[in-house]
Symmetry: D2
Subunit: 301 residues, 4 copies
């Protein structure tokens, strides 16, 4: 049985829009619109128990899950929502033991989510250029107890010549211009490795998709995820009146080897504005040189 | 670098609707509508490489992810789709080290997905009554390399008096009548533990929600998840014409202690058809007896 | 060219959430958060022109459409939204010249919308029991200039033995328990006539569908309509963050003659709780008596 | 009572995916997978009655609605679906008596739908450049009995200098490049008149929105409409497994007068690639010249 102690993390839960995540500190009180609670009263109780505020409202003492950390994370930027995070994990097959590359740490919410899945044998390597965010992220990751599984680096992968990690299982990109880092991401990903980019606009999906083809990715998929809440009540079940809007689109792909010769590839990359015919053309070129390429692949990446 | 060998699992990927998952067997061939491939030709190649069929079609040799195993699982029953599995993991905060109870193993796809996340320190305890499905599930779980992290038991938790496991972090229920097992699931869940039920109909959501309140669960949430695919192409980006229909609704909750006296609780349970007022009434009774209950909680479950 | 005069209706439009519908009254002023406008300044301007408030904000002088009347209607009750009204019109094929029965006038918004389409040769017969709403509806219908095409009656069709109208093309039902009036609605509808019921809950859809089968309706269809707004902006096009929630479900059907004998029908109606097998059984009975029924149809309804 | 006669139009309805629309021809038979029916057997029956095929299947004899005509229209092109047509009618407030401009007649389905609403006092003026489609459309419009309310013209409004109609209430545009005709559409629309464009891609929405601002339209709204079907059955109500995909996006706006001087406007139009700042800039210019503009408006359009 899991008993709440001093310093234990607790989600004080009144309802889905009124909830507070904090560590118990035996001399503190929680002051809310629905009344006051003494932290000390929670100590010794089993998680799931409830306390009554001085305004006669019940508040449940829940054991915080990764979901609670993500939803309550201190963010100076747009977070990635659990509905989207869940699909990322399921579509890319993220699991224990994997090495994850993240470009754009942001507030560290996706970092934390992914680290909670790949631990204890996996690791998240996350890169950002904004020192302010990096501090926020560090605090959020520590709070979720995941610092051990995350390496944060202040490095601009768009401009750096460095290849700080290799053979990553999955790459997560949360940048405004994800296509810029694709050639570098390829070098860090293992063969057949997965990529996921957070793309808030359709224009980003479009540009990224073109760049993914040029950079020899396959199984390319753009999706959006709509979550609808249902008010299930006896004899009156219906969707909630409260809707949910757009959060982001997601773009997925896997690293492949189209087997282009080094020359053909360079050419393709140079013509960033190549039309949809790029694929067909590259394919044609590739056919003639299948054998030659096989030997060059490892040098290319 | 990850090189394909004899016996290696490979997803032969042509496109999202034409893909084949199998282990390489050096003397075999893959016969498809888009041509023939020799397994032997894949040996020695890096994952992500491609082969050309005798009909001049390129097929990519991808390293299977958990997603591929789930989508290609041999199922005699309806599977839970990755979009729903992902939300389950994210909302319940499933992570390394957790103990998961699953009632209704089915084809073992949810079992495998969850095991891939909680391993190596966590475990999935899954129960079913249909021996035929149990064999299918066993095979699917083994194929995904996860047998070590799963205990399958042939037991009917609806009728059994046994409490085979306790202190579970999360309970996943995939039964037609999930409300029947709620009292037992409570006994197996830790305080504040999460429950997720797969509910294909609105009627199930409604009945289950009523039962969850009666059985002292909180943070109850019913959702459905819509995934929309976007055809991102230069100058012509739009949603796919191909739509996706309903898969299932999901019902989430967390185990709480309403602090009812044993008597009050029994009464509430007896009146299964109690209206939405049940909660309010129980609350009123509870107030008068807050102290008494605290001592009884541990005996109740 | 359409010039604004004294007494002309004008939609003062600032943006989609800040707009005011009123008749010009030359001595009045419009006071808003974005400043003050004199009605007199609008007189003599062409519809579509704009005025500047004393806070330097532009407000457009739009000619109100039926959409504007509906969105700005004074309602004491939940209105039916244009997205739903539009589908009702399109699915039931509502057009000039039709006779429409409406049960549940509410605030008169659906009444007005439908009248604007069936006029000048068609007519809407609308019934309600709440005199307060009837007055609100009357005012709203008059304001939209449609009183001539609407007959409002204070009559409870659930209990009345009267059949006030017959040979209606379409019946619109906005009641909490639409199934109660089905036998009566049948008598008022022409053969093959359409029915649409506003059903805010899934439970209503379910009960109504069962009753529609029992009351010999065909082409039964339950739908919901989701409108998503897209923020189209150069280089940054995406769905709006602002979501839209549930409004209502809609249930459509057309009056048919299953050709049951009078007796069989009575029996079916008595067993309101008949299972989904009702249809099959009724069909079986019907087969044996096809000829007999034909002669009874006209007497039945 | 409406009785089927020789030549009467009838929708032979088996279910939503098996239905046939035709005129009764007393010597003909309807041959289908579910059996054979003699047209002659329908004569004398009331609409809504049913016939049994020689394979013992019931087929309902429904009176075709505009919906049936649209869904069964002979189309060589993509039709606009009822869910979208309904919103167009409701959002633009289309009603009896209005004059509608349509650019891109296509198969005449939108033409017919709109004509059925604006008749008998309104009219649809529709333009196309493809003679083959114009013939198909003519046939479809005639079949729906609406020829009297529609004028079809073979004219390319993109290039023509002609202004064939003016003071239109609503303009409907179904072209691949709707922005091209905006200046001309303005001249044909009345002040405050509505425009709706069918935009199958996000890129079209984006370009059109920019052009609408440049061409002095307001109340600009881009939407998409999702219809979900619900299988309502006793105790097993859920959304249909069969999904619906993307049909089209819709772009709505109303003609306004921004009051730019002729010069300012010309400049704005010349810079088609002007950024989102166009609006702000135009506004600034406009302020200084408010009075001057008022006198020029009528000459401009």
């Amino acid at each position: 049985m899991s008993i709440i102690k001093d310093k234990s993390p607790v989600l004080f839960f009144y309802n889905d829009s009124k909830k507070w995540l904090m560590n118990i500190s035996k001399k503190e009180e929680l002051h809310t619109h629905i009344g006051v609670l003494k932290h000390a009263d929670a100590i010794g109780k089993e998680y799931g128990s409830r306390l009554m505020t001085n305004k006669d409202k019940y508040v449940y003492l829940l054991e915080p899950t990764m979901y609670d950390y993500i939803m309550k994370i201190q963010h100076g930027t747009q977070i990635v929502y659990p509905k989207d995070l869940g699909y990322i994990a399921a579509r890319a097959g993220i699991q224990d033991g994997q090495k994850i590359l993240e470009i754009g740490t942001g507030s560290g919410s996706m970092t934390s989510f992914v680290a909670s899945i790949v631990k204890p044998r996996g690791h998240v390597y996350t890169f950002d250029v904004d020192e302010k965010f990096m501090k926020i992220a560090e605090k959020n990751i520590r709070r979720a107890g995941l610092s051990k599984y995350v390496t944060q680096t202040n490095l601009d992968l768009k401009t750096s010549k460095e290849i700080p990690v290799t053979e990553m299982d999955v790459a997560l990109i949360d940048l405004g211009d994800p296509w810029v880092v694709l050639p570098k991401v390829r070098q860090m990903l293992k063969g057949s490795g997965c990529i996921f980019a957070i793309c808030p606009t359709m224009n980003q999906l479009e540009k990224l998709t073109i760049a993914l083809i040029e950079n020899e990715f396959t199984d390319i998929e753009s999706t959006e995820h709509i979550i609808r809440t249902i008010a299930a009540r006896e004899g009156k079940t219906r969707h909630s009146f409260q809707g949910i809007g757009h959060t982001t689109y997601l773009c997925f792909a896997r690293k492949a080897f189209f087997g282009r010769t080094a020359k053909a590839t360079t050419k393709a990359k140079a013509t960033t504005k190549a039309k949809a015919t790029t694929k067909a053309k590259a394919t044609t070129k590739a056919k003639a040189t299948t054998k030659a390429k096989a030997t060059k692949k490892s040098t290319k990446n």
